[in-house]
Each structure stands twice: as C-alpha cells, then as structure tokens.
C-alpha cells in the first residue's frame, strides 16, 4: 500500500502517512472550509491500511506505529476529526500494535499544549508532549 501525502494549504494541514516506516504525520494549520471533505478520505485511508497492512501481519511481533502531530492551530470542527483519526489508532492498539503518539507544541503555546493534554485525556492514552 502506498503512502498518503497531502500538501499543506493556507487552510489545511500537511498529511504524510507512510506504511513502510509506520509513521503518520499531521502538521500545520487546520480550518478547512469543507472539513468533512478534507478528513473523511484520511479516515477511509486508515480503514484500508488496517485491512491491507495491519490485518495481514500475522506474526507475533506487531508493528510500532508512530504518530507525529505538530499542529500550529486547528478549529473545533477539525478537533473532532483529529480525535476520530486517533481513535482509529486506538483500535489498532487494541489489536496488539504498539502506538506512540508524539504531540509537538511551540514552546510557550499553552493552547496547543492544553489541547494535547485534553486529547490524551479523552483517549485515555498517554501522549509524549514535546516542546520545540
């Protein structure tokens, strides 16, 4: 399965999901005019990734999936979809895959830091909160 690469725009973040390295990056700014139209294909890609990649791995050693979130801003409608994306990874985790979530925030940006803490709380899963 090929990677999912979406270049950033003024209103939407950069997406780089790479099945080969098992790294999944979302970075930048998110307030899409059509939030459903932007995020639904990403969720669909993750469903396919589960079927075509993760479910095919029947070895004892499961993958380590690394999620790097480096958001500078996201509106409330985007937060719903970012949470939905992370919930997909929680499903992968419940199937035995290791999941590491790195939440980057600009040093001093309490809003993004708090959003990371709140998302971690909602998922009941620890994030690595990393200033830059």
């Amino acid at each position: 399965m090929g990677p999912l690469n979406i270049e950033p725009t003024e209103f939407t973040p950069k997406i780089n999901f790479d099945p080969e390295s098992s790294t999944f990056e979302i970075s930048g700014f998110s307030r899409p005019e059509n939030v459903i139209g932007f995020y639904r294909p990403i969720l669909k890609w993750l469903e396919e990734y589960n079927e075509k990649v993760l479910s095919q791995n029947i070895t004892f050693e499961k993958s380590l999936l690394t999620i790097n979130l480096k958001m500078t801003y996201f509106n409330s409608a985007s937060s719903k979809f970012l949470l939905d994306i992370l919930l997909e990874f929680m499903k992968f985790h419940s199937k035995g895959n290791k999941v590491e979530i790195n939440w980057y925030y600009e040093d001093g940006d309490d809003e993004i830091l708090e959003s990371g803490e709140e998302m971690a709380d909602m998922l009941g899963y620890a994030f690595n909160l990393i200033p830059y």
């Binding site: 209103f11 899409p32 059509n34 801003y73 509106n75 409330s76 719903k80 600009e106 993004i112």
Partner: protein, 168 residues
Amino acid sequence: MSNRENILGHYGPLSYDEIGFLLNRMSAYVDRQGMNITIKKKVYSAMVESLENVYKHQDIINGDTEYQPRFTLFLDNKCFSMFVSNSVLNKKAVSLKERLDKVNQLDLKGLKELYKQTILSGNVSPKGGAGLGIINIAKVSENKIGYNFEPISSEHAYFTINIEISLK
C-alpha cells in the same frame, strides 16, 4: 474607556477568504505589540469560531443593507473585546440562547467536561459544525459571553455576541 482602541472591523457578507484576511491582520497586530503566543491563540480561536459560525449560519435577509454580518475587535488595557453580529432566524434563537446560557453557567472545569462529552458523542453536521464552537469560545475567553437578539421582523433577529479575552 478612554484608551479603548478599535483594531479591526468588517461589515457585509463574509467569505472564507475574508475570515482569513481578518485573522492575518489580527495576528500581525498582536505580533507588532509583542504580546505572547497564548493571548494570540485565544483571540485567534474566538475569532475563528465566531466568524465561521456567521459564515455557516448567516441567514441573510435579501436586499437588506442594515443587518449584514458585522465584526469589530477592540483592545483596552485589560482585554480584547470582540463583537460579532449576524441576522438569524427567530426559530434558531431559542436553542442558541440555551447553549449560551449553559456555557455561561459553567466554570473552566465544567466547560472542559462539556467539550469532552460533546466531541465524544456529537456528530459533525452537514455544514461541518461539531457543536463545539460556542464551548470553545467560552473556554478560551474564560469570561461570560455577552449576547443580544435585536428583533428585526417576525422571522429574523440581529444576533450579537460579545467575547472578552483578558490580557493576563
């Protein structure tokens, strides 16, 4: 207040690009003032959520020039204060008022809990709203949200929301 400064304003129908333009002008102003990034993000969030609400829900009265969307941002020595107005159908006013009264009764802890409940249970509406905008505004503001419905006709009212973000 004698030192209240009008930083930014808009009057007329609102496009998505126009929202971006207003956000960029606010960011540039805050950067010039050397204010910290958290204040900027709070003002930014409140502007996005309130202006996107206007953009998605503006019930424009055809041909009317008096009750178009309006946005004004002020700064004094204590806080940023924004006023955002648009015409709404009276039938939507009741639920809007209920939601505003609900968030105004909650403290920050209560708002975070409501946000969590809403995001985990709510679906995104066809217009892309997730029912989170008003809660988010109340969270970043940490002040009570002021609002007013000015009657226009039997069908419409002119809705104004006032959001204050303290400089602390």
